[in-house]
């Protein structure tokens, strides 16, 4: 029954997508936004039905579906049974379709609300979204069908399946369940959907860009709309990347959070390009320049999301030759090729639209600093792309399987990151058109002094390691530059308004923030990125690591902590057995906490998932992992992660900036109308 419902949902979504393309193209031709409401509703209804059917099958333990039989188990607890709905390939494409449908719904709503007479870009963009939706519903109906009925069951899964929902079903009594790593932490249920929202959200700016190109409508109209859409996607993507790093840190028990793994790189590359677009779009909106470049960025960001999906979902990373093992690999690659080739053909044939960009007056200006920022961000993305694809090229040419190690990324990316931080500090102090170098230097003097002071303080109380000091100086510079800009402007306008009588500075600051919320939201995101940089500087250079064998009653001193092994413990929960050790943590003779690093055993799995126990303090984390636990005692791995909370805080602040900008803008017309 679930198979029938699910397939009905997929086909409804597919039909709605085709319908949307037809009505969208008609609307774009005649400049009307009517007639697209029903196809948009149809897509959303179909996508929701498919997702609900899959989730219902999981909740109802319907093992007659191949997807359920191979990815679910009766014992899988909430919310991980729900998360299983997108944990494996086929389910993830169903979620992809649903999120795309939701974005299409919001895009339609925004197009209708614009109420622009003769709007062609809006309907055109909806038609492009329809084309992308045809692809994703199309693969659900064919190569990534999640509703295949199991026709040959084994004890713990399904070995043969049929796409026909009325095929004679054979259900195994139980399934293997999702991978234990995926049900070990609540973040695993949250961070993939966040990343998806970011990835798929980048389809909307792409749709506006392609629509503008196809309809030969240059200018800034498409850009205004796609910048906001990019900001939505960017906010989700930022949150998703940070939560993903956090999950890796909390679960994978190696003490790190980022390994330049292709899966991680796949999420970082679109983020970098989208960040570049958020800045370069402003240059075109304000000054009319960089038109061609903006098209390149939206096409690039979307292409990178498809490339990322191809890399992570096709098995190509394991080996170049393995991607043809599943049909999804060649299909995604073909779609990627179509997107890139089609977009750039469109771009090339309409280059006259974008050729006459006005020249910039001066490089020492806001637009000049955005140019520098774009150069740095795209080089950054290029480096990550090269490092990710290089092993594939080597294997294709020589047959040797190689990996590009983290040292390559660090060596290339660290200088770029420092240059970016400098640009982030200086840029906001420049003015449009042409900045006066003397005034620029004057307004940056205080931030530079504060940054150097922070660097000196770091040397005095923490460390002399160059990278750490440099990260503190650069990060503090960014934050101090933003804060001093705000204070300067508030003080100046307070002076201008007061004419003698004192005006409260706090009120003036609030007025400044309200006057230009999206600018200050951007500054908040800058501060978040700066905190991340400082955090990375601390954790990458000052982390300590050690291992020790202990028996109950033993004590060990590590990084200023007194650790005492009290006793082992064993707990049986509904879906797992937990075996661990209770460790008492004391600082200066005072017990601060009790940590319980453990191994979780899921189902019949004999290999436990080692789960770290973490004590967070202002200076950093104490991170304990059980390597081994048996009658003889424990082998305990101890790590410190100095200042790692700066990463999580900075990431959430950066995403918060995006959220502020989005919500503040909606209010803007109201105040403007007063």
């Amino acid at each position: 029954m679930f198979a029938l419902l699910g397939i009905a949902g997929i086909l409804t979504g597919l039909a709605g997508s085709i319908w949307l393309v037809v009505t969208g193209v008609r609307g774009a031709r005649h400049g009307t936004t009517t007639g697209m409401w029903r196809p948009v509703q149809t897509i959303l209804g179909g996508a929701a039905l498919a997702m609900l059917a899959l989730e219902a099958a999981l909740v109802a333990d319907d093992f007659s579906l191949e997807y359920v039989a191979n990815n679910h188990a009766r014992a899988t607890p909430f919310p991980f049974n729900i998360a299983t709905g997108w944990a494996a390939l086929e389910g993830s494409i169903v979620l992809w379709g649903l999120i795309l449908a939701v974005f299409t719904w919001f895009t339609h709503r925004s197009v209708v609300r614009q109420e622009r007479e003769g709007d062609r870009i809006g309907p055109g963009a909806l038609a492009v979204l329809g084309i992308v939706a045809i692809f994703f519903f199309g693969i659900q109906a064919t190569v990534a069908d999640p509703f295949r009925v199991c026709t040959e069951a084994v004890a713990n899964g399904c070995v043969a399946a049929s796409p026909l929902p009325w095929a004679a079903a054979q259900a195994p009594p139980d399934g293997p369940g999702p991978n234990p790593l995926l049900q070990n932490h609540i973040l695993m249920a949250i961070h993939p959907p966040m990343l998806y929202l970011g990835f798929i959200g980048l389809t909307v700016p792409f749709a506006y860009g392609i629509s503008a190109l196809a309809l030969r409508e240059g200018g800034v109209e498409w850009l205004r709309r796609s910048r906001r859409a990019t900001l939505v996607a960017w906010t989700f993507l930022t949150t998703g990347i940070v939560l993903g790093a956090w999950w890796a840190y909390e679960v994978l028990s190696w003490g790190g959070y980022w390994g330049w793994d292709p899966v991680e790189n796949a999420s970082l590359m679109p983020w970098l390009v989208a960040t570049a677009f958020l800045h370069s779009a402003l240059v075109q909106i304000r000054r009319g320049a960089l038109q061609a470049w903006n098209f390149v960025l939206v096409i690039g960001a979307f292409s990178l999301t498809i490339l990322g999906t191809f890399l992570t979902r096709s098995g190509v990373i394991g080996s170049v030759h393995s991607f043809t093992q599943s049909a999804i690999g060649p299909v995604l690659l073909g779609f990627l090729f179509l997107v890139v080739a089609g977009s750039f053909w469109l771009f090339a044939t309409r280059s006259h639209l974008v050729a006459d960009s006005p020249r910039l007056d001066s490089l020492v200006s806001r637009e000049g600093s955005f140019l520098l920022n774009n150069l740095l961000l795209t080089v950054f993305a290029f480096v990550v792309l090269t490092g990710t694809l290089y092993p594939l090229v080597v294997e294709a040419i020589s047959g040797d399987r190689v990996a590009v190690g983290p040292p390559f990324f660090s060596r290339m990316v660290v200088p770029l990151a420092f240059a970016l931080l400098l640009a982030m500090g200086i840029g906001p102090h420049t003015t449009w058109k042409e900045a006066d170098p003397a005034r620029l230097a004057e307004s940056l003097r205080l931030p530079v002094q504060i940054a150097l002071g922070a660097g000196a303080l770091t040397v005095l109380i923490a460390t002399r390691i160059g990278y750490v000091v440099a990260a503190v100086v650069a990060g503090t510079f960014v934050i101090a530059a933003s804060v001093s800009l705000l204070l300067n402007r508030a003080r100046r306008s307070a002076l201008a308004r007061s004419s003698g009588s004192p005006v409260r500075l706090t009120g003036e600051i609030r007025r400044q923030l309200a006057a230009e919320p999206s600018f200050w939201a951007g500054q908040l995101s800058h501060a978040g990125v700066a905190l991340i940089a400082i955090g990375i500087g601390f954790t990458s250079n000052l982390a300590q690591h050690s291992e020790v064998v202990m028996e109950p009653g033993d004590r060990v001193v590590f990084a200023g902590y007194d650790l005492a092994y009290r006793s082992p413990f064993l707990v049986t929960e509904t879906s797992r057995r937990v075996q661990g050790a209770t460790i008492e943590v004391a600082v200066d003779g005072e017990v601060v906490t009790e940590l319980r690093p453990r191994a979780n055993y899921y189902g019949a799995d004999t290999s436990g998932i080692s789960t770290p126990a973490i004590h967070t303090a202002f200076t950093g984390d104490l991170y304990l992992t059980l390597v081994r636990i048996d009658a003889a005692g424990i082998l305990l791995r101890m790590d410190t992660s100095p200042g790692i909370w700066l990463l999580w805080a900075g990431g959430l602040i950066a995403a918060g900036g995006g959220l502020w900008s989005l919500t503040a803008r909606r209010r803007a017309p109201v105040t403007a109308g007063v």
Binding site: L252, G387, G405, L635
Partner: protein
Amino acid sequence: MPPRKLVWPALALTIAAVLVLVATNIGDSLTYYLTPQEAVDRRAEFPDGERFRLGGLVLAGSFSESGGVRVFEVTDGAETIRVELTGTTPPLFAEDVGVVVEGAWNGSFFEADTALIRHDETYQAPTTTQAS
């Protein structure tokens, strides 16, 4: 500020510099990835201390641990190599499961300091049945 004429040459030069930097650096950070069979066949190319990644299945019944060093055998069915691992074993590490260890030859065995579970995007560790 530089005259506008110089902007494009400067940009071209920057891009060229980036390409050169990438090209020269990426070669240094390459780690070869060999199966036990290849590691034995190409022993001459990888003398003691020359790092590479070795990937295969952890041979059932071969795991032991003492004094923080984990010893096990990695096999691809054709060749089997003894591995001495000083680093921690990753989550999901078990016998009969695919593993990648990074290190170098040391005489007749492989001295590793890092181990990763080989997993795809579903984080499912490959097992003997899947590998065959």
